[in-house]
Structures are given as structure tokens and as C-alpha cells.
Amino acid sequence: MSNQRQASSASQTPHLSPAELSYLYTSLSLPKSPIRPDGRSPTQFRPLTAESNILPGTNGSARIGFADGTQAIVGVKAEVEKTVLSTDTLASSEGGEGEDSTSTSNSAAASGHGSWVQMSIEIPGFRDDDALPVFLSEMMRESLVGSVADGGSDGGGDGGGDGDVTMAGGLKGRLVINKRWHWRLYIDVLLLSQPLSYPLPLLSLTTHLALLSTKLPKLKSQGEEDPFFDDDWEVAEYLYPRSSNLKAAGNASQYVRPPVTLLVVSVGENIIFDPSREEIAVADAVLAISVTRDTEAGNLKLLSIRTVDPPSRLTQPAVPNSENVNMLGATAPTEDIAVLNPATGEEEVPGVWRPRRGGVKRSVIANMVKTVLKKGGVGEEVLEGLEGVEVE
């Protein structure tokens, strides 16, 4: 347990022998066509079951179960809160009558604040303030509040929204009710069992679904009044607006969507998506890439990249026969010739596992991002898959 906590971001240190690790690495790093333990293609995801709107007591909720049995439940709750104008804002709007100060205070009230979205992640076996839950929640919150739909908040801040399909100012702007009131969004993520692999994809997809199903009650008050809402839950509006009349599928893809965070690993020259626990254990580099749909261009937009500490750095090294005292004299000397591994730039004996060292080349990172973002790439595939869930 203490080891788990120390190995914060790397989730769990895998319990694989050096020989197994070496075998996995060799088969996954085969040039052009990696062989994955479960026979998937590099960009193929594992099957999952998903349902949304499962908890009537929340504004939005979703459950996703991965094929390996791990499940996550996300509940979203929204509360109305008074916008606290800081002393700075008051001072500047009172003191300075210049255009500059008034325009900044206006934009502040219209654009919302990132701290209005609160996220907490519960993982069995971890405390709230352990490194893994904190890192995961910061990672997901960062891309959520950062996903401003279009450049600049000049689109006008009628965030109350009468079914408008675009979302000015992104999620933050949507939470603004008027200058004095706003919604506060609590996203509680519950992992139902100890994570078997790095739980980020599971949590991110579940959060995405929950946010898609989140509804806020319809606002009945207008302008700067104290807000009051329609009691009828039937007329409540989606947090991420969508038009009721279903248009062509090509058009539907242009709506604002919550971001998704994908876990991408590189093994040798290969780039592998949705890694299983064994695959992540031998990865050279692990990247969490958050993307969302760009409403203007209709393609995908990068929101954030974070490296995740690859667990392969913590693995046990193997001993080549030439250094093994038990094998002294038993092997032919030609067997152990160290060769230069092109991926790591180090001398290695083939088939003898070394924990990974060093980082990742820039070209590899660029390649990983490209695979996610490109037209018809993995990112679009995932978003389309998730859009299919809420139709049912």
C-alpha cells in the first residue's frame, strides 16, 4: 500500500517478471505491426458498457464498465451560488472610470471562473489527498475549464441560453447566470474497485458522458434579478446545449462537447491506444492527451498534454547471462552481444529487460498527438462512440 502511494502517478508497480516484460516489449515494439497481448490493433479500444442518467438525484450521471471489470460512476451536481466580487474588482470599477477597467470587469462577470467547477475523485485504497487522485482530478478539471468554445468572449454572454447551439465562453461561460449569481458544478467521480490499469481513460469517458447528460433547471428570472427556476424538470436545459430537432449526423458533430482525455503510450516506434495494465507496464512514454471538438473548424482541438510517469521505470531489471554467476561457463559467449536500441539509444542485450530510462523524443510526441487529432483519427472515433451512447 505504501508503495502504491509512493508510485503516485504510475498507478501500481506491475507484478511482472523481467522475462515477461521483455517479451511484452519485444512484441509491442515490432516495427509497423505491434502484437498486443489481446490481439487488438494499436488504435483499437477495449469494449465497454456505458449508460447515462442512472441517478435521479443528480443533475447528470453516468456509469461505464470496462471489459476488465473496473467500473466508474460519475455524478454531477449543480448549486446556485452568489458570485463573490473581489475587492479588486470593486475597487477598480469604482475608482477608475476609464474604459479599460469597466471592460475588464464586464468580461470577468461574463467569462466565469475556473474554480466554479469542482472535481473530486474517489479511488478505493487511496486517500483523497494522495498524489494519484489529485493528479487525475487536476488533469481532467484543467481541460474542462480550459475548453473555451471559440476564441475570445466577444460572442456575447447570454449564457442563460435559449437553446443556442454554440456555447459562448465554454463551460465557464455557461455557468454564469448573471453578474451576481452563477452555478457551481460538483463533479464526483467514483471508482468502484481498485484500478487494474491506469484509470484515466475510464474516468475521463465517464465524466464526459455524465456532463453530456447534465441538465440545469430552466431559468425563469431575467437579467440581474435573483435567479429562480422552473420547477418542471422536463423543460430543464442541457448543460452542453444541443438542438432538439436532430439534424444530419455531419451537423450534429459540430455541437460543443466536453473534452475527453485519452491515454496514449509509445513502445519503441509504435503508438498504442487504450493500453492494458501489461502494456502500460512496458511503455517508453505515457501521455494523457485531452481533446475536444473545435466548433468553428469542425475538427479536433488539442486542450492539454501531460506526461504520466511510466511504470516501466520502476520495474526490476534482468541480468544478462554474461553477468549471471549461476550461468558462468554455461553459455556460448556469442549469445550476449549488446546492441544499440534505436528507441532508447542505449546498449542492450536483446531479450534482457532493463527498466526504461530517459524521456521521449519530440518526434514521438508529435506523432502521438497527430494520431489523436487527425481527421478520422482516434479522437474522432472515441467522440463518435460516446455520442452514440446517449442516443439510446
Binding site: L55, T58, I73, G75, D128, D129, L192, S193
Partner: protein, 267 residues
């Protein structure tokens, strides 16, 4: 007029949610919901929804189960987590667990430690993880039922199903009971608003599986109370009624749970 059970019940003989005094809420349950655990269950009683997963019996962590305590039998660990979105207003957490969930965890641990045949698994740990997805009263009772189902799913031997239920009185019941003018009724399976205004207790009972011929006839006698928990103030003359109603509720729930277990055929 405030809308609560203590005022509406004497007038209509119906509770806030339209139930009569002896009616349970809709109980739905499922087992084997989570393939990643040894046993798991989902149980909802009205708007209270609980997921429970059991891991083990497995080798305990170093230093815990290997001591003198572990040699006698398995150690039951219970971890209760009330989700932030479970109640009407989001619970603001002050870090880690709160009082309510740790109390439930302690009660569950004590109940199942003595209930299960732990002597079959020395030096091992049975860990139970309870997630409350939606809280609307009778949390402890629902948690007991969910744990029982998950433990059955995990195949851990126990003498009988341990089921829990709450019962309360339809008024404050602070004066001695008057047998001639008895206007207070006992209530079964309280919801959260009722729990907040009325005195109530949680009772958990178990039966031994009848073994042999002489156990067959008096099944009534074989019901044992395993959990009894009351936090509210009440005149002692009412206890017996409440206990009887609660135990009757437990028996009803036991039949429902048996149906769930028998109905689910795991391949």
C-alpha cells in the same frame, strides 16, 4: 401546515410517500454487478441506492492478518463511502471519511465479523467496499442487505442471510404508551425525511439454516438479532412494538433477497 409524516399520518393513515405503516419501499437488487471483484451487488430500497463489492478472502496485508488475531479466522474490513452526490445537497467533505460513514462501517464490520464463518479462512482478509450512490434513509439497513448479497455472491459461508430494516413510531413517542388510546403506529422502512423527524431504530436479524428434523418446526424461534442500533429518544414502552415490526420487515426482506439470489443464475 408542514408536510411531514407526524402530522399527515394521524389524519390519513398514510405516510408522506403514500405508504401504509407496514409497507416496505420498492426493493430492487442484483448480484454479480462488478466482474472485477469476488462478489458484488447493487441494492436499492426506494431512493436509497448502494453498490457493494467484496474482495477476498485473500491473503491479508503484512502485519495485519498474520498476527494473533488473524490466526483464529478471517478479518473483515469494511470501507463505506458516501458519494458526494448522494444526498439532495452536495456534501462538502472535510477530507476523507465523515462520522456517518465511519459509524456505518464500524457497525457493519462488527456484524459481519461475528456473522460469517470466518474460522474457515485463517490469516486472510475479507474486504467489503460499500458505495452509497443515493441516500434516502435506512442507510445502515440497506448497507447490511447489500453486503449480505455481495458476500453470498462471493461464496463466503454464513449461517443465514443477515438482513436489516428500520422501524420507527409515527410520532415523537415521548410519553408512556397508553393501551386504551393508542394513536401512534409503528412504521416500517423509514425514508430520510421520516428519519429526521421521528424516532427510529435499525435492526438486523439472521436465521440459522434449518439443519436436521428438530429444527424444522419452530422457525420463528431461530431468528436472531445481530444488529440493533438506535440513536433517538423514545419512551421504553414503545421499543417492543418497534422491534417486532422491524424484525418482521427483516423477514420480508430476507424473502426478497432469497428471491434475488435464487433468480440469478451465474453460469
Amino acid at each position: 401546515m408542514p408536510l411531514d409524516t407526524s402530522t399527515t399520518y394521524p389524519l390519513t393513515r398514510l405516510r408522506l410517500d403514500g405508504r401504509r405503516w407496514n409497507e416496505l419501499r420498492l426493493l430492487q437488487a442484483q448480484i454479480s454487478t462488478n466482474p472485477a471483484s469476488s462478489g458484488s451487488s447493487y441494492l436499492s430500497m426506494g431512493n436509497t441506492a448502494i453498490m457493494c463489492s467484496v474482495h477476498g478472502p485473500a491473503e491479508g496485508r503484512r502485519g495485519e492478518a498474520s498476527g494473533a488475531a488473524g490466526s483464529a479466522g478471517a478479518i473483515v474490513e469494511v470501507d463505506v463511502n458516501v458519494a458526494g452526490f448522494a444526498s439532495v445537497d452536495r456534501r462538502r467533505k472535510a477530507g476523507g471519511s465523515d462520522k456517518q460513514s465511519s459509524r456505518i462501517a464500524t457497525t457493519l464490520r462488527a456484524a459481519f465479523q461475528s456473522h460469517l464463518h470466518t474460522y474457515l479462512y485463517p490469516h486472510s482478509t475479507i474486504s467489503i467496499h460499500v458505495s452509497v450512490l443515493s441516500a434516502d434513509g435506512s442507510l445502515l439497513a440497506a448497507a447490511i442487505n447489500a453486503c449480505t448479497l455481495a458476500l453470498v455472491d462471493a461464496g463466503i459461508p454464513m449461517p443465514g442471510l443477515l438482513t436489516g430494516c428500520t422501524s420507527g413510531m409515527s410520532g415523537s413517542a415521548s410519553t408512556p404508551r397508553d393501551p386504551r388510546n393508542d394513536e401512534l403506529d409503528p412504521l416500517l422502512d423509514l425514508s430520510l425525511p421520516e428519519e429526521q423527524e421521528l424516532p427510529f431504530l435499525t435492526v438486523g436479524t439472521t436465521t440459522c439454516v434449518p439443519v436436521g428434523e428438530n429444527h424444522m418446526e419452530d422457525e420463528e424461534e431461530e431468528t436472531k438479532v445481530a444488529v440493533l442500533n438506535m440513536d433517538s429518544k423514545l419512551h421504553c414502552t414503545y421499543i417492543e412494538t418497534m422491534l417486532a415490526v422491524g424484525m418482521d420487515g427483516c423477514n420480508q426482506i430476507r424473502e426478497l433477497l432469497e428471491g434475488v439470489i435464487k433468480g440469478s443464475n451465474r453460469g
